[in-house]
């Protein structure tokens, strides 16, 4: 599907979603509650069939956190970027997708380690790089470390 076709098809299913076509890929921003049903559809419905999750990360926008999923379909050769906007910075939570794409297991652990976003129903959610009792979430914009040097 082209960008336009994807947008039309998705906007009927998700009337509340926000679309952004400015970049290279079509971006769709949704709330965390809508994530899991949408991801299941994107993986399993024959017209989407996004079978390759090639990048999973998060961005801290100071007022809110966003998890970013880059999806690609080997069969239809289309790309989609799904973003889940999490407003709660104190206890951010989002459903895991690691039973849909197993590569998400490690990638979600990385996001948890560096952003502190909890993935619900994740089989093994531990910090992946840092020590379990490391204070704070380093990739957040408000992270302070006494050893950090201002350049």
């Amino acid at each position: 599907m082209t960008k336009e076709e994807l947008k039309t098809s998705l906007s009927t299913a998700l009337p509340s979603a926000a679309f952004d076509e400015a970049g290279e890929f079509l971006n769709v921003t949704i709330s965390p509650a809508e994530l899991l049903p949408l991801m299941n559809d994107l993986r399993n419905k024959p017209e989407y069939k996004f079978d390759y999750l090639f990048c999973l990360t998060a961005v801290d926008w100071k007022t809110h956190l966003v998890t970013v999923y880059h999806l690609f379909s080997k069969e239809h050769k289309h790309t989609l970027v799904v973003k889940a906007k999490i407003d709660d910075r104190v206890d951010p939570k989002v459903e895991t997708v690691c039973h849909i794409w197993r590569t998400a297991e490690f990638l979600e652990r990385e996001v948890y380690d560096l952003f502190g976003i909890k993935f619900l129903n994740h089989p093994d959610l531990r910090r992946i790089f840092l020590d379990e009792n490391w204070p704070g979430w380093p990739l957040r914009k408000d992270y302070v470390d006494e050893n950090m040097i201002e350049l």
Partner: protein
């Protein structure tokens, strides 16, 4: 449970023996720490513990300029340093809407394929070493050394080349470049048959790799594998073919696909890839376009607001650079989708049910580079 300390070996209530392999183990190629649950010789479970050389390159990039953050990536996958630099340079060029000059593009492809050859040669030597054959290591380093010398002459560094900059390459190629590359290609072509004699047809080697560490096409895709590791399972994923950059679409080369899915298929996949790289270099070495080696860019680079994603094929798979820009002179967020991180995530799956000795064969043929996993 802390992953900063090595836990003691112990026995579980079910009688499974738990041992720690690494982080300072010769066959883990760096500081990879694997916790392995064993029932006799059979692996019940593997848990990778990471972070021993986590340098937070992504966090550092947020305070570096768009010219400087490229050079930090040489320290990720140090065997594909040039290709990492290239990915970042391409991402910045995409944001700026600038294109590298034709000469720079040709030079970058040549250097990228030389890097791939050097990386695969090191991998070939180490795979032999891991599986008990010491000789291949010295044979592999013979050719790798010749490539490293070209790198040194051209870029001034053997491993961390730092050669790609936004708009092109840092300086023009050395006058000897073409002659030396041709010599190396000739040398590699002559010596490839020695590689096959030493390892490929070796009975012990074949028995240790055939049918070991199998992963199916569906699982490979689900685990997000890329590079030769995925192509050995029949997943077509060569970024040079799927999303051509730098003009790879104008070159004649094949995407090597195998259907074995085991260690031997991964081995054969890389051996074939070396031949394809040689073929690419041969097409380009006499056809480097004349002209500027660097397109003009502003001294201080500022990307427009937005998100830019660039992927390239490194020696190990798909490297993605995801830049989120807020219009400032350094990235707001910079994420590296590293091929090794995803490839490693499939290791527990591949190793389950295998023998402890096979774990080394699986690790060797995934071709892990730990600095790229940890970043």
């Amino acid at each position: 449970m802390s992953n900063g300390l090595i836990e003691q070996d112990y026995m579980t209530e079910e009688g499974e023996f738990v041992i720690n392999i690494g982080p300072q183990h010769p066959s883990t190629h760096g500081v990879l720490h694997l916790k392995v649950w064993l029932d006799g010789e059979i692996i019940k479970k593997v848990q990778p513990h990471l972070g021993y050389i986590h340098r937070s390159i992504e966090k550092m990039s947020e305070s570096l300029s768009y010219r400087n953050f490229i050079f930090a990536t040489s320290r990720m996958d140090y065997l594909s340093a040039h290709i990492n630099n290239e990915a970042c340079a391409l991402a910045v060029e995409k944001g700026l809407g600038v294109e590298a000059t034709p000469r720079a593009k040709a030079i970058r492809i040549l250097m990228a394929e030389l890097t791939r050859l050097a990386s695969h040669q090191l991998w070939w030597g180490c795979t032999g070493l891991d599986l008990g054959a010491v000789t291949p290591f010295f044979y592999a380093f013979r050719e790798r050394e010749a490539i490293n010398e070209i790198m040194e002459e051209t870029c001034g560094a053997r491993l961390t080349q730092n050669y790609s900059v936004p708009g092109g390459v840092m300086f023009d190629i050395h006058p000897n470049f073409q002659k030396r590359v041709k010599d190396v290609i000739k040398q590699i072509k002559e010596n490839t048959k020695e590689y096959d004699e030493l390892l490929t047809g070796n009975v012990i080697f074949e028995q240790r790799t055939k049918g070991v560490g199998y992963i199916s096409k569906e699982d490979a895709l689900s685990y997000g594998l890329s590079g030769p590791t995925a192509r050995a399972s029949g997943v077509s994923c060569d970024v040079r073919k799927w999303f051509p950059y730098e003009g790879y679409d104008k070159l004649d080369f094949k995407e090597v696909l195998m259907d074995g899915g085991d260690c031997y298929a991964r081995y054969m996949c890389r051996m074939e890839e070396m031949k394809q790289s040689v073929h690419i270099i041969e097409q380009l070495i006499d056809n480097i376009p004349e002209g500027e080696f660097q397109a003009k860019t502003k001294q201080v680079i500022k990307l427009p607001k937005g998100e830019f994603y660039q992927r390239v094929e490194t020696a190990r798979g798909e490297l993605g650079v995801y830049i989120v820009s807020d219009g400032a002179a350094s990235p707001y967020r910079c994420k590296y989708r590293s091929p090794n991180f995803s490839n490693l995530s499939a290791l527990p799956f591949m190793a389950k049910g295998a023998k402890i000795g096979d774990l080394v064969a699986i690790m060797a043929t995934i071709d892990l580079v730990i600095p790229d996993v940890d970043r």
